[in-house]
């Protein structure tokens, strides 16, 4: 039986369009990469590559994504420089312990390490026990979440319940799967783990499918999954988690689901954002929270989730996959087609710094009938018969 099917055996009703057709944007000149070497696909820098993960410390910020894309900025997200990565695998998550040292993880067990603030990256590898027996084999499942605790210590999580831990700057990654009894549900433990966040070396959180919210207070020696979900489906699919302290955290999931806890994960209260879209990312700073998700959805709360507002931002409908606070004011969100949004006022206003955004001229609302002068119509060739006959 397919993993995918098993995972979604009781999935919620969900409509989704095919979303990988790779047409570029607009009829205007599109950014293209020239001189790609076909024999070295891992060196390709593809303009407009989807971005999946973002991290920030001070004025430094990093974003990673499709086809080994890794970007870094040192001016609060104004300019982003690409760095060469030794991989064509898609990178899903990035985390830095300090402005110099950090990791990125991605497709099929990809782990990259940087010691120079994201300018260059070197590959690392992890092995896991082969379920078929015969010792260890290289990890080849996707890694989705990474949390750098210190320049030498980090945690990573991914598909099929993979949890990795290093204490030697990644020279060796130790697989430390969570024991089945630690989960708060009866589902199989080889589940998708989407995010890991450590607030300090002792306290950390993991989130994933089947409303998985695990917490450790002893540096990952034991994980506790017991929690009470208030008015929320037992198996709400959770995409991301933002931990503020050992006690306070927020998790986001399908259909606008936002869960908040202030008692170390024992009780989770729903604070649903007004959307049916999946919320792929969450970032919290003080009482301000930002959630982002599918179809360009983005909501801001200034009162710990009691009320939600749509911040001021460019109209777009690319999906947004990841959001983070650099400090209480600076925040970044990244997503489809290389999209980078940046805010300097704690998320109230956002500007687009980067990315190809196919902005629909008719917008996502229904155009009023009779409105004839849309921006896009100016370029229309004249109707038949109106064009002045050109001499052949």
């Amino acid at each position: 039986m397919l993993n995918a099917l098993r995972r979604n055996g009781r999935g919620p009703r969900l409509a989704l369009a095919l979303a990988a057709f790779t047409f570029a944007t607009g009829t205007s000149a599109r950014e293209i990469a020239e001189g790609l070497d076909p024999s070295k696909a891992s060196t390709w820098q593809l303009p407009g590559a989807d971005l999946y993960g973002v991290a920030a410390i001070g004025d430094s910020a990093w974003a990673v994504g499709y086809w080994g894309t890794a970007l870094h900025s040192e001016d609060f997200g104004k300019t982003w420089a690409p760095s060469g990565t030794p991989t064509e695998a898609t990178l899903f998550g990035v985390s830095f312990a300090d402005p110099q040292h950090g990791w990125a993880v991605g497709e099929r067990g990809t782990i990259l390490r940087s010691d120079d603030g994201g300018k260059t990256w070197t590959p690392q590898s992890a092995t896991v026990a082969d379920p078929a027996g015969g010792g260890d084999r290289p990890l080849d499942t996707h890694l989705f979440g990474i949390s750098a605790v210190s320049p030498s210590e980090a945690w990573a999580v991914g598909d099929l319940g993979v949890v990795l831990h290093t204490t030697d700057a990644g020279a060796s990654w130790v697989s430390s799967p969570i024991p089945p009894e630690s989960f708060a549900d009866e589902n199989f433990p080889e589940r998708i783990l989407n995010a890991v966040r450590f607030t300090d070396p002792q306290h950390g959180w993991i989130t994933g499918e089947f409303a998985t919210t695990l917490r450790t207070t002893d540096g990952g020696a034991t994980w506790v999954g017991q929690r009470k979900l208030v008015d929320t489906a037992e198996d709400l699919y959770l995409f991301d988690l933002s931990a503020q302290t050992e006690g306070r955290a927020a998790a986001t999931g399908l259909a606008g689901g936002v869960l908040l806890t202030s008692d170390g994960g024992s009780t989770w209260e729903p604070h649903t954002a007004p959307t049916a879209a999946g919320l792929f990312g969450v970032a919290w700073s003080g009482s301000n929270g930002i959630v982002i998700g599918d179809r360009g959805e983005m909501f801001l709360t200034l009162d710990d989730g009691a009320t939600w507002q749509r911040p001021e931002r460019p109209k777009l409908f690319n999906w947004i996959r990841s959001v983070t606070f650099a400090d209480h004011n600076h925040a970044y969100a990244v997503g489809e087609r290389g999209l980078v949004l940046a805010s300097e006022d704690g998320g109230l206003h956002w500007t687009q710094e980067r990315g190809q955004t196919p902005t629909p001229r008719a917008g996502v609302s229904v155009p009023e009938p009779g409105r004839s002068t849309e921006p896009g119509r100016k370029n229309l060739p004249p109707a038949a018969g109106q064009e002045p006959a050109k001499a052949p």
Binding site: A4, L16, F21, G26, E107, G370, A384
Partner: protein, 1068 residues
């Protein structure tokens, strides 16, 4: 017996037996006339394809699976606001629905936002993947009801019936009308009976059936209407006052923008236009009917002013050429009328008009009859060629009549002797001119493009027929006609004055040098651009129609609104079923796509990977991180299977992957199909494939493109045997580096491989479906096909003579011994590759045997373990192959024409000088015409190449007649320069007549033709004719006088004789 004696005797003999001869020619003409009446005018896409080109072999191998390149692209543009308006959506639905009813459409290849092929998918409560139409099934039913309602009411209105006020009245109207129609549709109804014999009635019956079916649908849809729907005039309105619930229209933009398969491709980025694409079959189609139906549909949909419908694509283009067919015929008639008038003015004698004309008509009958006899067809764009040939016929006739009048005057009214003498004198130059010309035409038939082959064969025959229909028939007619009363030869004073000045110029030493200098300048200037004439289309849209024609305006709209509709399709082949489902193959496809997209001409690309990733994402709660390839082939196969199973048509992924998952496609969309764009696109693909071998072993055939032999092939093309390609084998070593392997060159003969039913599949262009058809017809092995009777084979279902011949030829080749030119084998890797050639002029083939499987012919000339790429299908591939073929043969055509002409003249006149002089004149005309093509931005393509090839020969007879006259005058004892002057003022007169008459006859095509192609060609031919005329009258005599070749000076004792007074010589 000298040539002169022979022509003299032949002429006497021929005129003596004139009765029998006339009877014979008459009988033949009646025979051809009978066939000419059955001539068919049609067009088939397959005729435009060079069938030997590797890309076309790949295309033909896969087109049934992955779709044809003969595609109609329609843009439906909202005049106000966006397409998210129920009236616009109704039009999109209607067009998509109705184009499916057009004869010749491939029902599986219709795509738009309302077609069942474009879908959204979701996971339902029980975890099953379901897909649904983007607009939604219920709204589509409402759109259908509205569209058929509108049609029904319009029909009622046309019949003068009162329109219903409410749904009940509408129901009554439908009931009444249906009863009436069903009456007509009853078995044995008068209409039914008449339809069996009368095509017009059959069409009427079809319309009745269609209306009946539409009423049935309407009734059904009206029965299903939700509560609260009312009839408001022509509109169905629901409780909200609109046809579609407001919520449906409001949510549509969101769904469209989310669907990347659709947004940008089938809906424009600005939301103001929707695209409908429909593939058509490639055989013989009634393009006139297709065009008519599409256009009336366009008019019907545009009637209420909400949308504009723009139609483009190859079938529409062919439709336009048929649309202008009657105009072309009208222009041809006008040209002929002009010719009559001009000939009348020149000759002032009725023979001067009747002879060229009767000959031209007879020639046309023979030509058209021959086309029909061979089972060929005439296409509108090919109509230019008969015009050129007719022009040549007229030109020969004018020479004869002019000479006849001259001789008639000389012989003081002895008609019989005048005929024989003029006939004898012109037999040689005329015959040589015609034969040389025919050779020039037949050379274009070496191309494997069926249309060019056909044009070559009938063009050569048609040209040759001038010998009979013009040269011989004219003489017979004059022999029978009453002798002209006026023996004096009318000489237009003005023209004579000019010719005398020209004669003076060409024999005067100073002017000779000036003329020579001017010639050098012109030739150098023309030559500098002549080789730069582009191959293929050199501008967006089509060069066949004017820039501001409806078609080209529509093409511009499509190009500006959408990412591009011209696709390059690359087939990705693997060794066994399910091979495509391997993650590493999917990754290769994805990498190839990403590489190809980094090109500013590219709008986007699509492959099975895009579907796979999107489906994978859907399965993972829409998390975009799962826009990735699953881990294993089982998972990939399972996901794709579930997607197919959740769609109403399980073949939904067929354009992207075959049912066995052995082969897949990558489609890359380009903004235009100019030759440069295609070349660049293919080069990028090849660069990629060469630089990124996959698996342990990668094999390809390589032919150097820039060495000495490449130049030879560039000039001689199909005249020389295909080159021996290099078998390049790359094998991966332990360090992961690819190392080029040494390849054996055994050149050993091998017997044909064992025959079997399965083996038929290795023949080019055979598919499993075709195999079934062949086996059921009794052809169950290759030998049987090779031995088959051609006419019997052509009767197999779906075959015609051309297909049957191609298959039989392939089977015969297969049963021959073949030479293994190069060979490489690696037992450990299980790979064995051979380059086989079955004949000197046959293309070398790459055969690969992999891990115990049988030998497989690699049409693409490539093989790689795991993932092989086969270039190139889609419109870009098909046109690219066609361009390559044209490029390969256009120089060869020139070389062959010139060689033929040179040799013919050399042999018949035994004079190197004459041959060289005439080729210089012809070469000048050709260079100038090429320069003209360059400056007028006309490229070589399937349509223009035959005209250019024919054009080379158009002027050869001018110089030939003139030189012949010079030789004759020399024989009569005139001095060299005197002979030249006499020739210029006599034969030169006839040359001037024909030249100016023909230019006058065709030049105004340029001003009135709606087809840019006809206008371009008219101007091109005028240039060729004009230059050849000047060449014959001025250049040839000047050079002769200047360089004094032996034929001119032989027997001349004192060069001083040339100093005879000009006036007296000219007057003699």
């Amino acid at each position: 017996m000298t040539v002169q004696e022979f022509t003299e005797r032949f002429s006497r003999f021929f005129i003596k037996w004139r009765g029998v001869n006339l009877l014979l020619i008459g009988a033949a003409t009646i025979f051809f006339a009978y066939h000419a009446l059955q001539l068919q005018v049609f067009s088939q896409f397959i005729d435009l394809l060079p069938r030997n080109h590797p890309w076309i072999q790949v295309y033909e191998k896969y087109n049934r699976q992955f779709g044809s390149a003969n595609v109609v692209v329609a843009a439906i543009v909202a005049k106000q606001g966006s397409i998210y308006d129920e009236r616009v959506l109704e039009k999109v639905f209607a067009f998509t629905d109705q184009i499916d009813k057009v004869e010749g459409v491939d029902h599986g290849q219709i795509n738009s936002i309302t077609s069942i092929t474009q879908r959204d998918q979701e996971i339902d409560q029980s975890g099953i993947m379901r897909s649904h139409q983007i607009v939604g099934e219920a709204p589509l039913a409402l759109l259908e009801a509205q569209f058929f309602l509108r049609r029904t009411l319009h029909r009622a209105q046309q019949r003068g019936e009162e329109l219903p006020k409410d749904l009940a009245a509408l129901g009554a109207l439908i009931g009444k009308r249906k009863a009436m129609l069903e009456d007509e549709l009853k078995a044995d109804s008068p209409l039914e009976k008449a339809a069996a014999t009368d095509p017009a009635k059959a069409e009427e019956l079809r319309l009745v059936q269609r209306e009946n079916a539409e009423l049935e649908f309407l009734k059904l849809r009206l029965g299903e209407l939700p509560e609260g729907y009312e009839l408001d005039g022509e509109r169905l309105v629901g409780p909200e006052g609109t046809l579609l619930p407001k919520e449906v229209v409001a949510s549509l933009p969101d769904r469209i923008h989310q669907n990347k398969q659709v947004y940008g491709r089938f809906v424009s980025l600005d939301d103001t236009a929707a695209m409908v694409m429909a593939g058509f079959l490639e055989g013989r189609l009634d393009y006139e009917k297709i065009f008519h139906e599409l256009h009336s549909l366009k008019e019907e949909l545009e009637a209420d002013g909400t949308v504009e419908v723009h139609l483009t694509g190859q079938p529409v283009l062919v439709g336009w050429t048929f649309f202008y067919k009657s105009e072309i015929i009208l222009i041809v008639l006008l040209s002929l009328l002009t010719l009559v008038v001009m000939l009348g003015i020149y000759f002032r004698r009725w023979y001067g008009v009747v002879m060229p004309f009767s000959g031209a008509i007879a020639c046309t009958i023979w030509g058209l009859g021959f086309i029909s006899l061979m089972g060929y067809q005439l296409e509108p764009l090919v109509l230019v060629i008969p015009m050129v040939i007719t022009a040549r016929a007229i030109s020969h006739s004018v020479q004869f009549v002019e000479r006849f009048y001259e001789e008639y005057e000389r012989m003081n009214g002895d008609k019989h002797e005048a005929v024989i003498s003029s006939m004898a004198e012109l037999l040689l130059p005329g015959f040589i001119g015609i034969v040389a010309d025919a050779i020039g035409i037949i050379v274009i038939g070496v191309s494997s493009i069926a249309l060019m082959k056909k044009v070559a064969i009938f063009g050569a025959f048609w040209s040759m027929s001038i010998v009979v229909t013009e040269m011989l028939l004219n003489r017979l007619m004059i022999a029978y006609f009453p002798a002209p009363k006026d023996t004096s030869h009318y000489v237009p004073g003005g023209i004579m004055w000019c010719l005398k000045r020209i004669a003076w110029l060409s024999t005067n030493p100073t002017s000779q040098r000036l003329i020579f200098g001017a010639w050098v300048v012109i030739v150098v200037a023309a030559a500098s651009v002549a080789l730069k004439v582009k191959i293929g289309e050199s501008r967006p849209g089509t060069p066949v129609l004017w820039e501001n024609s409806e078609f080209n305006r529509s093409a511009k709209v499509v190009a500006s609104k959408f990412y591009g509709a011209d696709d390059l399709t690359v087939v990705v082949e693997t060794e066994q079923p399910s091979g495509v489902n391997r993650p590493e193959v999917m990754h290769e496809i994805e990498a190839f796509q990403r590489y190809m997209e980094q090109d500013e001409n590219v709008g986007g690309s699509v492959s099975i990977v895009d579907y796979l990733k999107a489906i994978n994402r859907t399965y993972h709660n829409a998390d975009p991180r799962w826009l990735s390839t699953p881990y294993s082939d089982q998972e990939i196969g399972g996901l794709l299977y579930l997607y197919e199973a959740g769609s109403p048509d399980p073949r939904i992924l067929n354009p992207y992957r075959d049912q066995e998952a052995q082969n897949a496609t990558v489609r890359i969309f380009y903004r235009d199909h100019q030759a440069g764009t295609i070349e660049h696109a293919v080069k990028r693909a090849e660069d990629y494939i060469f630089a990124r071998p996959t698996g342990r072993v990668a094999i390809r055939l390589e032919t150097p493109r820039h060495d000495f032999w490449a130049r030879v092939h560039w000039w001689l093309g199909p005249l020389v045997p295909p080159r021996r390609p290099e078998l390049v084998v790359l094998e991966r070593d332990d360090a992961g580096k690819y190392v080029k392997q040494t390849v054996a060159q055994p050149d050993r003969q091998e017997p044909p491989p064992p025959d079997s039913t399965e083996w038929i599949l290795t023949l080019p262009r055979t598919t499993k479906e075709l195999l079934d058809v062949l086996v059921s017809a009794g052809y169950d092995n290759v030998q049987k096909i090779a031995d088959a009777d051609l006419t019997e084979l052509s009767k197999v279902q779906g075959f015609d003579l051309v297909t049957a011949y191609a298959l039989k030829h392939a089977a015969e080749l297969d049963r021959r011994h073949y030479t293994v030119e190069s060979e490489w084998q690696d037992e450990a890797a299980g790979v064995h590759a051979q380059v086989r050639r079955r004949g000197l002029y046959e293309l070398p083939e790459l055969w690969v045997k992999y891990q115990g499987a049988d030998w497989v012919r690699r049409e693409s000339g490539q093989w790689a373990e795991g993932t092989s790429y086969a270039l190139a299908s889609g419109l870009m591939g098909v046109l690219g192959a066609s361009n390559a073929e044209v490029e390969g043969s256009n120089n060869a055509t020139l070389v062959a024409s010139f060689t033929a002409i040179f040799l013919m003249i050399l042999i018949s006149y035994r004079s190197f000088g004459i041959a060289l002089l005439l080729c210089v004149s012809l070469g000048t005309a050709t260079l100038v015409s090429l320069a003209y093509m360059y400056f007028a931005n006309i490229g070589f393509d399937v349509n223009t190449l035959p005209v250019q090839a024919l054009g080379v020969g158009v002027g050869v007879d001018y110089g030939l007649y003139l030189m012949d006259r010079v030789v004759q005058e020399r024989r009569r004892g005139h001095g060299p320069d005197d002979s030249l002057r006499i020739a210029i003022t006599t034969t030169g007169m006839a040359v001037f007549f024909t030249g100016s008459t023909l230019v006058g006859g065709i030049i105004f095509w340029y001003f009135i033709s709606s087809l840019r192609f006809a206008a371009d060609m008219a101007l091109l031919l005028s240039v060729v004719l004009g230059v050849n005329m000047v060449g014959a009258i001025l250049l040839v005599p000047t050079f002769a006088s200047l360089f004094k070749p032996r034929f001119l000076t032989a027997g001349e004792k004192a060069p001083a004789a040339a100093a005879a007074p000009v006036e007296s010589a000219a007057a003699s």
